[in-house]
Symmetry: C2
Subunit: 307 residues, 2 copies
């Protein structure tokens, strides 16, 4: 966290464990979040990799309550609260504020395609006005490969002008450095914190003014990613980045969410972790064996997970 | 409705009226649905044109209760109940069944892209199993330009084999006649009712075994569309189809949902109807004037709407 009290550093879009009946497993989630915090990784709950849009609003509220109730620090939490329906976004965001979450990560409404910046501005403005809390810190979530609805530079410019301080930053999961760079060049000097959506751009991002990253693979490789974020100006940073890239490269060869869960399941010795909700499917036995073989060969470990 | 008790003919994905505070306006919706039923058009509530994904589940349940409570016939209703989150789809579908709805129109979960037919099969199967009601009639909703997730012939084949009778048909909003034709050729003989997603394909569809259509413009031009569907074998069908196409063509030159609402607002003499929820935006004054001028020039009317 920065001097301003803003969330910085590395966050994990925490994968959501399910019971055999596909209901969310709050106890396993609490344990996983505690492990991540212990590795100096913050909690971007209810992100794309959390299967967040496969959860109902009630399920998300219940999980958030359980996490805070278990004593986990809400100031380290940046839950995803952007939904297709305005009342859902308002309800979830207000609840996150009530619990004291450090920020919220907000998808644009993603059902309608080809919508205008006017309509998106109006969506975010309505959420902000209805939540009506000056402590709110919104991080805009740009992930066009999945949402198909972009957070443009023009939209950010309007939102920052209308809601300075509340519009606090963005996660850029475009996978396009040019877009991350455009965010940084235009807004890093205006109190707008940019998180690349993968550690692939961690070092490059930090060197250009990013404040950390929010990355799928921070679910499984949290320690090394967090250490680079914290020590990039003193350690042999390029070598550390290359080591992160090798692990990321392995996961990128599999369907990401099932692969993350398979790794947690395998290295944590907990088969229950492999379950995903439809429309996703678990890795096949063959995929799982191949993933583990590749990770073992790379010397990958998940220290402290088992237990 | 057919002899089998199945929903057939023309349905409208009924546009949802909002109050100035953007909350759903149940009274106006009841009036609109009554007008549509009076034109022999069924109620595909909570479709894409209903801004359904901009409504919370609670709002949809409340609206459905109000419609049935107002005495509208639930057997003429095919509400959209397919959500991103499995528990939401189950809850909404079970509620529609409890109310006696003639069917439900089901989107695939649409957040994750590139998902497998296995994952989609599992999604629909879980909904069917959890709702657990033999009266359930599911119409699969194929609208790849918006959902970006397709209902393939292979998926339908698997679902029909597993749940004959319950998997009752599809709405095809691909705008691709070849896809509609493939649905018809493969499944029309297996108790699977195909509705093209626009009256553009109404006559062509009926001639190849479709049972009607579910079309945005049935919100504004219900009578003529329903008359062609009912009388296509006896009237001068091609000429009627051409007349429908002219009106559809006008609406297609504007953002569809705001244009439908602008037309209802103008021809119904009720300015409140123009309101849309973000991320959509209303037509500009200029767009609205131009739309009305085009419709007037085409002799367009909405008989019986004003009142």
């Amino acid at each position: 966290m920065s001097a301003s009290g803003r969330i910085t550093g590395v966050l994990s879009p925490v994968v959501t464990p399910f019971k055999p009946d596909l209901s969310p497993d709050a106890e396993r989630l609490v344990r996983q979040c505690r492990w991540l915090l212990g590795q100096n990784v913050g909690l971007a709950l209810f992100g794309t990799n959390s299967e967040a849009n496969s959860l109902s609003i009630d399920e998300k509220i219940e999980l958030l309550d359980r996490l805070v109730g278990a004593g986990l620090d809400p100031s380290r939490m940046m839950p995803g609260t952007g939904c297709c329906a305005l009342p859902d976004s308002v309800r979830l965001t207000a609840h996150a504020m009530k619990l004291g979450c450090g920020g919220v990560l907000m998808l644009p409404p993603f059902y309608y395609k080809g919508v205008s910046d006017d309509g998106l501005f109006r969506n975010f403005a309505e959420v902000i006005e209805r939540v009506g809390d000056r402590r709110l810190r919104i991080y805009l979530y740009h992930i066009p490969p999945v949402s198909q609805v972009a957070i443009t530079v023009g939209l950010i410019d309007r939102l920052l002008a209308a809601y300075p301080g509340i519009v606090a930053g963005a996660k850029d999961s475009s996978g396009d450095w040019n877009n991350t760079h455009a965010y940084l060049v235009n807004f890093a000097g205006r109190g707008f914190d940019v998180f690349p959506g993968s550690e692939t751009f961690l070092l490059q991002g930090l060197r250009h003014g990013a404040v950390g990253c929010i990355s799928a693979t921070a679910n499984v490789n949290p320690g090394p990613i967090a250490r680079l974020a914290a020590g990039w100006q003193v350690v042999d940073a390029d070598r550390s980045q290359a080591a992160l890239d090798r692990i990321r490269g392995i996961f990128a060869r599999y369907p990401m969410i099932p692969a993350l869960k398979a790794a947690i399941s395998h290295y944590g010795g907990d088969p229950a972790w492999a379950v995903v909700r439809p429309p996703l499917v678990e890795l096949t036995g063959e995929q799982r064996a191949s993933l583990v073989a590749e990770l073992d060969a790379a010397g990958f470990t998940m220290p402290g997970l088992k237990g």
